[in-house]
């Protein structure tokens, strides 16, 4: 970092003030991230990407058995041998709720179902909560039990402000960090550019530990007398404090190649959204390459995205005439399903193509591609932009996770999304007990090499 910091005239101390006290926006223009894996033995990694609003042209989406990809998928053509296009993903755990309205019109409300394999914790209209852990947290907990890796998943978001995607357990959400600068500083703020721990950060780290130990002690005492439901929430808070302590203890050494993180855009604004998405994807790759995390989730927007107008594609806000946000918002565009939607879909897939390219060019210490030890799942919440169906949702998988997945195919079957998620568990060496409920324990054979 500091080669740039110094060039821009900012001292380590100023940076630390920003990091430690969180009050000031850091006026840094650039910072550096790890560019290639620096691990002697490459571990398995998982990336989960989500956005909503479906694919309107279901018929043209990746044809089963080969054939040309439609224009909005063209960016993925060079990566086809590393991909599995999955048509027909069904959120059975969502559809099994007793409310028939849920069954086929609930795409926007499917978000807590997307990465989980349990029925919802409670049937509360418009207040959905998962009934168990999401894939990322399940794998993370299992790896920890196995002694493989003890840090939690990294959650990155782009203007996410609605239903949650990641859950440590029932009703215990893990929201993403929507601020790439904050996420970057959180991960890499404690190291100097040479990759060594920053001595000035050490004092802050220890002071924080002292405070958090006290907080954890208070929580332990408070939780002990509470009733079951309250205790679960209290214990979740305690777990969060413990995880935070662990994050703070970690020094993420990025002594690898350099990557530029451009600052100076507003990740909450339409015109900063594209850069925010790209920054979060870059941060995810850097974190995985430097082993600051082995699982990353990147959530673009929320269950509807009526708050996002894709101005970066030259689509201008035009106002709200029907009460569902700007008529040029992601959500409105999805309802209309016209050329604007194809353009936006194409842009989303282009970002995935860029991510896959990065995973290919980032080399492990043994020279292999990071993609080959990774599985990337790209999920959507619903079938089409207007219909909100939850039975034929288009998903993509990339990377073979050390030879587990048979990539280079497009499959169409009526399968549950848990058939895919369970396969990811298998691929990274964890069981599905405690993850999916018994009725959702299939593994999609067609995915396996």
């Amino acid at each position: 970092m500091s080669s740039h910091n110094n060039r821009n005239g900012f001292s380590r101390r100023q940076l630390l003030r920003g990091l430690g006290l969180g009050a000031a926006t850091l006026p840094l223009l650039q910072a550096e991230l790890a560019r290639s894996s620096c691990l002697a033995v490459a571990p398995k990694r998982v990336i989960l990407v989500f956005w909503c609003n479906g694919i309107n042209n279901q018929g043209s989406w990746a044809p089963v058995g080969g054939g040309a990809l439609p224009g909005y998928l063209a960016s993925l053509e060079p990566h086809r041998s590393d991909l599995v296009f999955m048509r027909g993903v069904t959120f059975q755990n969502l559809r099994d709720t007793p409310n028939p309205q849920k069954a086929d019109n609930a795409g926007h409300g499917a978000t807590p179902a997307v990465w989980t394999g349990t029925r919802y914790a409670d049937l509360r209209p418009f207040h959905e909560e998962a009934g168990g852990p999401s894939l990322d947290h399940h794998i993370s907990a299992e790896w920890k039990k196995q002694g493989k890796y003890d840090r939690g998943p990294l959650h990155l978001g782009v203007r996410h402000e609605g239903y949650q995607l990641s859950w440590r357990g029932a009703r215990d959400a893990a929201p993403p960090d929507n601020d790439p600068f904050h996420a970057f500083d959180t991960l890499f703020g404690s190291v100097t550019p040479s990759g060594q721990p920053d001595p000035a950060f050490e004092q802050l780290r220890q002071a924080r530990k002292s405070v958090l130990d006290r907080v954890a002690g208070d929580l332990t005492r408070l939780c002990q007398n509470l009733g079951t439901e309250d205790r679960a929430r209290c214990d979740a808070h305690l777990q969060s404090v413990r995880e935070l302590e662990m994050q703070l203890q970690a020094t993420n050494v990025g002594a690898c190649d350099k990557l530029q993180l451009t600052r100076g855009f507003n990740p909450k604004a339409d015109d900063g959204t594209e850069k925010a998405f790209q920054a979060q994807l870059d941060i995810a790759v850097a974190a995985l390459a430097s082993d600051a995390a082995r699982i990353a989730t990147i959530t673009f927007g929320n269950e509807g995205n009526n708050h996002i107008v894709p101005t970066w594609l030259g689509i201008k806000p035009v106002g709200d005439s029907g009460g569902i946000g700007d008529s040029n918002s992601h959500h409105s565009i999805a309802h209309s399903g016209d050329a604007r939607k194809l353009k936006l879909d194409g842009w989303h897939y282009q970002q995935m193509a860029n991510l896959i390219e990065r995973l290919k060019t980032t080399k492990e210490a043994d020279g292999t591609r990071m993609l080959d030890n990774t599985v990337l799942v790209v999920a959507n919440c619903q079938e089409t932009g207007g219909g909100h169906g939850t039975a034929k949702v288009p998903w993509i998988l990339a990377g073979n996770s050390g030879g587990y997945f048979r990539t280079g195919q497009a499959i169409q079957a009526d399968f549950q999304h848990t058939d895919v998620l369970n396969a990811v568990c298998e691929a990274v060496g964890v069981g599905i007990e405690g993850y999916t409920q018994p009725e959702y324990r299939g593994v999609l054979a067609a995915l396996k090499a």
Binding site: G20, G22, A23, A24, T25, Q101, D104, N105, H108, R124, P125, F126, H127, E161, G162, Y163, R171, D172, A174, P175, D177, T186, Q203, Q206, A207, S210, V211, L212, R214, V215, G217, D218, L219, R221, L222, Q224, N225, L226, G227, T228, E229, R233, C234, A236, S240, E243, L244, N302, E303, G304, N306, H307, G319, D320, S321, G322, G323, G325, D326, H388
Partner: protein, 576 residues
């Protein structure tokens, strides 16, 4: 009662036009489960019961008590409480990153979800920022003369500061534990002031500050499955629900003296707090915004926008005037004039400045100060024809009758709403010579009719106002049709020529006063009511009604209810 509102403002807006569904039933909310009648005990419950009050029914009404879930301070309570502790200042950026609060099953921001790792970090970063912001104030609070015993100074600071933050006296061991944080700061090479700041951070991140649970590590004392809140719990609950902030010195004194659990001391303190217009007004405003817009006041302010091409008159200054008018009006009617719900819903006056006068078409008001002004005759009726209400429930480009209708139906009248069916028809696109009413009439037939037979007339009645709240009789070339008829949830059939006539009937209805008192209960308790306390809404409503629908009397009735000062023990709880 089931509310079908969004978890977030975003989703609310997403579903904003989809207020249709099957089986939209017209039953009044009682917070009781289906099959029970308001005011009639459900039987089979183990409540001790509150005996008879009011006496307008043949059956005794059980007060009963409900659970009190572990409640985390809302962002509003958190910020106000920190202001009480450390003085006012800018809100740290870390607070902006907190996971947005969502409306819970109470229909209000109530019990917040578990704290995830990102929010644990947020609390840490915010606490660090607050201590930086307030370093001078902390220096004053923890003052230590040259040569004095530092640990002694820190200890006495802890006794005062943490007592206030935790809303209870600390155990000696707790004081020593916080002192150990100070000591570790010194050992790290921090100076005295910075080490005290670490203690402040530990307090601001402590669950004893962040949660409403003033027992510390002690288990509660239960009698017949019920727990009477302690003096310190009562003081905190009273202060946090009336003011949204920490108990003041007098309330803390009364709690320390053990006065609040006997006689009418709690009611006296409540009246004293209510007489502080400024602090109470904050909460009144918070209630109003959550009640009508299902979001927090900051979210309302930031999300209220209009298309500048269609509404060049709308700017931040006008928006702020709208917000100030509604807030000032509420404060004046409820707190200053000690007025009624009827006045809120039917007043023919409001507080106008020059900008609002042009919206209202009122003459004689100029300048920036809000002045009590009589409104043009026959055009307005209280809160629900104010520009803020009309603008906030419109889109940025025009009015949205279904949204207005849904707000009246579910939030003012407590009518039920069914879930949204598949394949929602969109309203017709705007076109010349087509009225808004005609565009949205797509929902009046077929599968949508179940709900829209209620929502549409309620919403169309407000077509005499545009998306800024300006009165209109024409929409383009066409005359506005604001007439309608429907049955209120309790069955009363109404018909009206316009919103003013409708609101008069709303204001006079049992639906409205019952709904309003039950909303107030839910807002205060932060949860929906349970079977055991099924009689409470009626008891509260009776008191409200016999006061002539005086809003302060309602507030006091809620505080006087048994379920405010007691709670049931919860499954798995350790009790004495």
């Amino acid at each position: 009662m089931q509310f079908f509102q969004s978890a977030t403002p975003t989703l609310h807006a997403l579903l904003g036009l989809s207020f249709l569904g099957f089986g939209c039933t017209a039953t009044i909310d009682s917070d009781a489960p289906p099959g029970t009648t308001p005011g009639i005990p459900t039987g089979g419950t183990s409540t001790a019961g509150g005996g008879t009050t009011g006496g307008d029914g043949p059956l005794p009404k059980l007060q009963g008590v409900g659970p009190r879930p572990l409640q985390r301070l809302t962002v509003r309570q958190y910020l106000s409480s920190i202001e009480d502790l450390l003085g006012a200042g800018t809100t740290p950026e870390a607070v902006q990153r907190f996971t947005p609060e969502s409306v819970g099953e109470s229909g209000f921001i109530g019990v917040l979800p578990a704290v995830g790792t990102l929010d644990a970090r947020g609390y840490m970063e915010a606490a660090e920022a607050f201590t930086t912001r307030a370093s001078a104030r902390i220096g004053e609070l923890a003052t230590c003369a040259a040569g004095a015993d530092e640990a002694g100074c820190a200890r006495s600071f802890i006794q005062g500061f943490a007592r206030k933050a935790y809303r209870r006296p600390l155990e000696p061991s707790e004081i020593e534990e916080l002192l150990a944080v100070f000591t570790s700061g010194r050992a790290l090479g921090y100076d005295y002031a910075k080490s005290v700041s670490l203690v402040v951070q530990a307090v601001l991140e402590s669950p004893f500050f962040l949660y409403q649970w003033e027992l510390g590590a002690h288990p509660a004392k239960a009698i017949n499955g019920e727990v009477a809140l302690t003096n310190h719990e009562l003081a905190a609950r009273l202060s946090l629900s009336l003011w949204g902030r920490l108990p003041d010195a007098e309330l803390s004194r009364a709690a320390d003296a053990g006065e609040l659990t006997s006689g009418d001391a709690l009611a006296k303190q409540a009246k004293r707090l209510l007489s502080d217009v400024q602090h109470t007004s904050d909460t009144l405003w918070d209630f109003y915004v959550q009640w009508l817009y299902i979001k927090s006041p900051p979210a309302l302010a930031s999300q209220l926008k209009k298309n500048p091409e269609l509404f060049p008159a709308f700017d931040d200054r006008l928006k702020n005037s709208m917000l100030a008018e509604a807030r000032g009006f509420l404060e004046r009617v409820v707190l200053t004039d000690n007025g009624s719900l009827t006045e809120l819903a039917t007043a023919r006056w409001s507080l106008l400045d020059g900008r609002l006068a042009s919206v209202y078409g009122a003459s004689g008001v100029t300048g920036d100060a809000l002045v009590k002004t009589d409104l043009p005759s026959g055009q307005r009726s209280g809160l629900f024809t104010q520009p803020l209400f009309l603008a906030a429930l419109s889109s940025d480009g025009g009015t949205l009758p279904p949204r207005v209708g849904k707000t009246l139906w579910s939030r003012l009248l407590c009518g039920e709403m069914a879930a949204i069916p598949a394949n929602v028809p969109l309203p017709k696109e705007p076109a010349p010579n087509v009225t808004t009413r005609e565009r949205f009439a797509t929902h009046s037939d077929g599968g949508c009719k179940g709900c829209h037979q209620f929502l549409d007339p309620l919403g169309f009645a407000f077509e005499n106002y545009d998306a800024l709240g300006r009165f209109r009789t024409q929409e383009g070339e066409r005359a506005v049709d604001a007439t309608g008829a429907l049955a209120f949830p309790l069955g009363q059939a109404v018909q009206f020529q316009n919103a003013v006539e409708l609101l008069q009937q709303v204001a006079a209805s049992e639906d409205f006063s019952r709904c309003f008192s039950s909303q107030w209960l839910r807002y205060t308790l932060g949860r929906r009511l349970v079977d055991a306390e099924a009689g409470t809404p009626s008891i509260v409503h009776d008191a409200f009604k016999s006061s002539g629908l005086n809003v302060k009397a309602l507030w006091l009735a809620v505080i006087g209810s048994k379920t405010f000062s007691h709670r049931s023990i919860t499954e798995g709880e350790v009790v004495q």
